[in-house]
Each structure stands twice: as C-alpha cells, then as structure tokens.
Amino acid sequence: MATIIIPTPLRKFTNNTARINIQANNVKGVVNELTFNFPDLKKHLLDEQGNIRSFVNVFVGDEDIRNLQQEQTPIKEETVISIVPAIAGGMV
C-alpha cells in the first residue's frame, strides 16, 4: 500500500495520524479514499468541484503532481505521497 503523509495542520482531522496507508491506483484514488475515511479533511483538500484546492500541493516522492500526470499520476506499493499546504500571505 502507498503511504500518504499528512501535514501537521491537517492531522487534527485524521485523529492525529501522520502516516496513512492507502490502496489506490492513482493520486485521485488516494485522495478519494482519504476523504472517505476522514470526511472532515474534504473541505481542506478539495474545492467545490471536487478538485484538489489550489492552496494544496501533492507530491509523489519529491515531485509535484503538477509536473507529473496531475491527479492521474500512478501510485505503486512503495510510493510515498506528501500533502504540502501552500504557505503564503502578505500585508495586502
């Protein structure tokens, strides 16, 4: 099963679990399974259309899925997936 690493700010929605093992064929399958098991994560990961929010980056290994096959990026047994919140802001 692939391992998905939950970032600190979202762990309160996964019962404080940092690493979750999920069986899926691609990133979309991983996210679907994750939000099914932890429904409170949904509003933080997905927009109203069900797509991954622009403020959320998903990395497969060290690579952003935007540089791979986006949500269709395939997942293998040993794949490590990281959810990386975009950290940004500013005074105006």
Partner: protein, 144 residues
C-alpha cells in the same frame, strides 16, 4: 496562548530587520501543553515570492517539507508560520486569511523604519476567521 522563548524571538526579529523592506518568513517549533504553545526553535526560510516581496511572501514546498522533517527529527511540533509586515500593522490581511491553514499560529511582526514596532499572533477559528492569541515573553511584555 503563545510563550516565546527569548532566542527564537530574537531570531525572528533579526530576520524581520535583515529582510526589511521585504517581508521575511519562516516556521516555528516547540511543544503544545494544553492551551499553551511554547516556542523553542525557529527556521528561517527564503521568501520565494516572485515579484513584490515588500507586500507578499511565499514559502516553497521543499522548505515546508524540510520544516516537517525538522520537527520530526527533533521531536518538536511544527506550530506555525511567522512573517513580517514592513511599514504596516501586525494585523493579517485578507490574503493572509485565504491562504491560512487550520491549527497553525500565524505570528506577524510589524517593522517600521527598520525598527520592530509590534508582534502579534493569530489563529484561524472554525469559521475560517482569524482570532488573536496572547503572546507571553518577558521582554515584549516589559515594553508594552
């Protein structure tokens, strides 16, 4: 409530002054005991915003992953993000709010004419609105 130890506070202030007139940014770490967050360490990172760094900051995903790794390796909790507002109050903007994460504390340091003017901390509530947190530190409280 945030309790900021003196070293991390000095390092955040130094980063804010060094980066002026641009915004600085970084992470802070420590331990959470009940309602109290004790900050013991910081990690300064580059403001990776392309364009106007005087009014905006951005942290590269790789720096975020390094911060999670640092917390893991040092058995600390990643408690939040700090950044500066050059010549502007230590109050979050709408842009800060939209990009903010749950759970994290957001420390904002106001720098005016190369002097530290204020430091305040904010956290998102359940309605995605910022609420101010109290900061405890002897040197700050003496100057207020």
């Amino acid at each position: 409530m945030l309790v900021i130890e003196q070293n991390p506070l000095d390092e955040m202030f130094a980063d804010a002054l060094r980066s002026f007139p641009d915004e600085c940014c970084g992470f802070f770490f420590g331990n959470e005991i009940g309602q109290e967050r004790i900050i013991t360490n910081i990690l300064t990172v580059d403001n990776s915003k392309e364009g106007d760094k005087k009014r905006r900051f951005e942290i590269a995903p790789k720096d975020y992953l390094d911060a999670e790794r640092f917390a893991d390796e040092n058995e600390l909790q990643l408690l939040g993000v700090y950044h500066s507002h050059p010549n502007h109050p230590a109050v979050p903007s709408e842009h800060d709010r939209i990009a903010a994460q749950p759970y994290f504390s957001y420390i904002i340091i106001s720098v005016k004419e190369k002097m530290i003017a204020d430091i305040r901390s904010w956290q998102l509530n359940e309605n995605f609105m910022f609420e101010e947190e109290t900061i405890e530190n002897q040197s700050i409280n003496q100057n207020k």
